[in-house]
């Protein structure tokens, strides 16, 4: 009986932490349970949420993708240049001087330029994944190099300047609502549903778990690992590009400097969500809760008007505490 209660606690421990944090938040701030705040909370969490879905794929195969923050910035500025009638060309300096409302001269018709940016995101992920696989370098290292390289590329692309002006449909992606739910949250939700379908209900997805859990066991079961080791990084790259486009809409500009350090929040959310860094264990459900916990911490501290740097200190401690509580449940459970 006792072990049953414990295993229940370990299976739902994460959920209990989330509920406890929500209860605590509403106690700490009367503003928490207002429609405006909840909308704000969920749409802010969505950006990390989308990145964390990609990160879940990568962590499932025992990898890490540090390049997502840089891809967000690169996707944002690439989208900006596409809007200003340029395609892979470095811009002359004078264009950056803000002269009232910009005139947009998109290179491609509207949906196509977004798709182009997403394809570039996929390509960057593919490069990371195949280098890691081909030369047997852990994706932590490859994506670290990619992170530095892509950020440098993004910033030199426009000499570090943002490019103002995005078309209305893209602003809508960031600010629009459907049935009272903010668009970023809806995009996050639909990505989650697609990811769950893929990971849980297709053979392809189950093979990702198998290869991540034990490459030898997977091979002996007739699975060829390469594809499943590269694909997760492509997903992660595409989703980072998605975030880059929505962020452009949110800020009304393409900005090569956004997304700096965002990979750490995504990794933290996935790990809080119960994924194992050695691969094979984890899932979208846990990641979503991890993202909500991370978002909640930010939101409440903003409501309490805590300064940014003490916020960081508190965040570090809270993430560690959440992981420690999980670690205790996990080790109890394996001792049964």
């Amino acid at each position: 009986m006792k072990s049953k209660a414990l295993s229940l606690l370990s299976d739902y421990g994460l959920f209990i932490i989330l509920i406890a944090l929500i209860a605590l938040s509403s106690l700490l701030s009367p503003l928490f349970f207002t429609a405006a705040n909840l909308k704000n909370f969920i749409s802010q969490a969505s950006y990390n949420g989308i990145l964390a879905v990609g990160m879940t794929f990568v962590i499932l195969i025992g990898g890490i993708d540090l390049s997502v923050g840089s891809i967000v910035g690169f996707a944002s500025i690439l989208y900006g240049t596409l809007m200003h009638g340029n395609f892979f060309t470095f811009m002359p300096n004078e264009i950056f001087i803000y002269k009232g409302a910009p005139v947009l001269t998109p290179v491609l018709p509207l949906p196509l330029d977004i798709i182009f940016v997403l394809l570039v995101g996929a390509l960057l992920g593919f490069i990371t994944g195949s280098i890691s696989r081909r030369f047997r370098i852990h994706s932590f290292i490859v994506s670290l190099c990619m992170m530095i390289f892509i950020r440098g590329l993004a910033v030199s692309y426009t000499n570090g300047q943002p490019l103002f002006g995005v078309p209305d449909p893209v602003s809508y992606l960031a600010y629009g609502e459907l049935f009272g739910i903010p668009m970023p949250a809806l995009i996050w939700l639909s990505i989650c549903i697609a990811a769950i379908l893929l990971l849980k209900y297709t053979r392809f997805g189950r093979r990702i778990y198998a290869v991540g859990g034990d490459e030898v066991a997977a091979r002996l079961s007739g699975i060829q690992p390469s594809l499943y080791q590269v694909f997760p990084l492509i997903v992660s790259g595409v989703l980072a590009a998605v975030v880059g486009v929505i962020m452009s809409g949110r800020m009304g500009c393409g900005d090569p400097k956004i997304g700096e350090g965002w990979q750490t929040d995504a990794i933290a959310a996935v790990v809080i969500g119960g994924a194992s860094l050695s691969g094979g264990r984890g899932g979208i459900g846990g990641t979503v809760i991890g993202v909500l916990i991370m978002g909640l911490i930010n939101n409440v501290m903003n409501l309490l008007e805590i300064d940014a740097y003490p916020q960081q200190m508190a965040k570090g401690i809270i993430i560690l505490a959440a992981l420690a509580i999980q670690g205790i449940f996990a080790s109890r459970n394996s001792n049964d």
Partner: protein, 502 residues
């Protein structure tokens, strides 16, 4: 009796690994409706052969014919598609996934929409588990099951592949008698279906019980392939052991058995691989332990060292009862282990010789507070010379030494510490012949300095040439303790396969 149809024919298979010829021109014929047993001592090449048939390794030369058509196996996937299923001995399974998922890894049943049909998957998994009478919930996470239940899952998996050829690598090692009976029934039903079965076992009774034909390998070479009905137990043991004269017996040192024992082990139990083990070793004696892989030799050593918690029994050291709860305590009590896996457990490969040698003795090698590097250098040079470690200087990284020299580094670590009991687990495995003899001489040297030596080895000539007495292990029990004059190759093999009981 009409000979059955040949399903798979392996011709002239050879395979080398760096430094070893694992298979040398071996043939194998697998017929429909026949249980073909594969036998041989440890390292005879059985595992390599089935790894080639399963597509895990590629052969250097030779050919494979499936139903008279030449096939080329590049990876395990090819083999599975051609209907060859292998039940591996070391359970490569995914501990974080459910039992059902492990059964259907990479081939989960799908609904019409192409999505994984979990309900059908659990139902099918239950069906296969029921066939082998395994009471396991297919929804359980595999890692939460015991080892023997995990083994049942892997058997269910092999069966569920419904392959034309099934290769079972020692499936019986962790099964209970009832589970084994059921497995034999299933194998019998496969025979009537006309499938080909390759069965590998270290137990002679099993070979006689279910085998139709046995192929014996020795040192990577084919010894022979005979119908079981033409053989008896002695003939099979003869085939396994061979007639070649073993290495010359060296100096018949007489050991005074009335001498006081240094270490005594009474009623030691640990897990299912160390069961009620009793023995003692006196000063200057080399006590050999022989047994097949999985007979519990390594587990016994680990239990003595306190690396695994013992269930019951006690250890007496110099007439005092000791409780050893960790390897650190064992070393403090004067017992050390030179482990089987030298590279991962014996030395720090990336570090220098002197760092390795001085590691356990750092306490005595420091100055008042800090480590004294001059002392360390002197100390490690002394032992480097004493053991004749071949390297330019003691700063050499251990990774670049030969196997024999790496083993000497492990020895040097302990010799300098004035210990009483040395346990060697396969000290000469994977090192060349000349170095082997040097290591054996070092062990003899330790014995002449009145140390008590426990030597675990699967090389019979090695045991016979240096051990004063030999304990033989079979399924966790020490089934016999023989003196040097009693021990023969045939007896060791027979005891280790459980064919003689005491």
């Amino acid at each position: 009796m009409i000979e059955n149809k040949i399903i798979l024919e392996a011709r002239g298979i050879s395979k080398s690994f760096p430094g070893v010829k694992a298979l040398d021109n071996v043939d194998l014929l697998i017929r429909a409706g026949e249980v073909h047993c594969l036998a041989g001592e440890n390292g005879a090449g059985k595992s390599t052969l089935i790894e080639i048939l399963g597509g895990t390794h590629q052969m250097d030369s030779g050919e494979l014919l499936l139903n008279n058509r030449k096939i080329n196996l590049q990876n395990p996937k090819n083999a599975q598609e051609l209907g060859i299923a292998v039940l591996h001995q070391e359970l490569p399974m995914l501990r974080d996934l459910t039992v059902a998922e492990n059964l259907f890894l990479g081939r989960q049943p799908r609904s019409r929409l192409g999505l994984v049909d979990y309900r059908k998957m659990y139902k099918d998994a239950k069906k296969w588990l029921d066939i082998i009478n395994a009471d396991i919930d297919p929804r359980t996470i595999l890692g939460r099951l015991s080892v023997s239940k995990q083994q049942l899952v892997s058997i269910a998996k092999a069966i569920s592949l419904q392959a034309q050829i099934m290769i079972l690598d020692e499936p019986s090692a962790v099964l209970t008698a009832a589970e084994l009976t059921r497995l034999f029934e299933i194998i019998a039903s496969f025979k009537t279906d006309g499938r080909g079965i390759v069965y590998i076992s270290h137990r002679l009774e099993e070979i006689f019980e279910i085998g139709d034909r046995v192929t014996v390998l020795r040192n990577g070479k084919l010894v022979g392939s005979e119908p079981i009905k033409n053989l008896n137990r002695d003939m099979l043991v003869q085939m396994l052991v061979g007639h070649e004269v073993s290495e010359s017996y060296i100096e018949n040192k007489s050991v005074d058995l009335t001498r006081k024992p240094v270490i005594e082990i009474y009623g030691l139990n640990q897990g299912h691989l160390v069961r009620n083990v009793n023995f003692m070793v006196s000063a200057g004696e080399i006590f050999g332990i022989y047994g097949l892989v999985g007979s519990g030799r390594t587990e016994l050593a680990r239990a003595i060292m306190g690396a695994d918690k013992i269930d019951s029994g006690h250890i007496i050291l110099d007439e005092k009862k000791v409780r050893i709860k960790s390897p650190a305590e064992a070393i403090r009590n004067g017992i050390c282990l030179v482990p089987e896996d030298r590279k991962s457990q014996g030395v720090l490969l990336e570090k220098s010789i002197s760092e390795n040698i001085s590691l356990p003795s750092l306490k005595s090698l420091r100055g008042k507070v800090l480590v004294n590097y001059r002392k360390i250098l002197k100390y490690s040079n002394e032992y480097m010379n004493k053991l004749k470690i071949a390297a330019p200087d003691s700063g050499q990284t251990v990774k670049f030494l030969s196997g024999g020299n790496q083993q000497k580094v492990v020895l040097a670590k302990w010799i300098g510490m004035n210990l009483k009991v040395f346990i060697f687990d396969e000290p000469t495995r994977g090192i060349d012949v000349g170095a082997k003899e040097e290591i054996r001489n070092l062990i003899r040297g330790l014995a002449s300095e009145k140390k008590a030596i426990i030597l675990i080895s699967s090389e019979i000539p090695e045991i016979l040439s240096i051990a004063d007495r030999v304990g033989v292990m079979h399924e966790g029990r020490m089934v016999a303790i023989l003196t040097r004059s009693e021990a023969t190759k045939e007896k060791l093999v027979a005891y280790s396969m459980g064919s003689i009981t005491v």
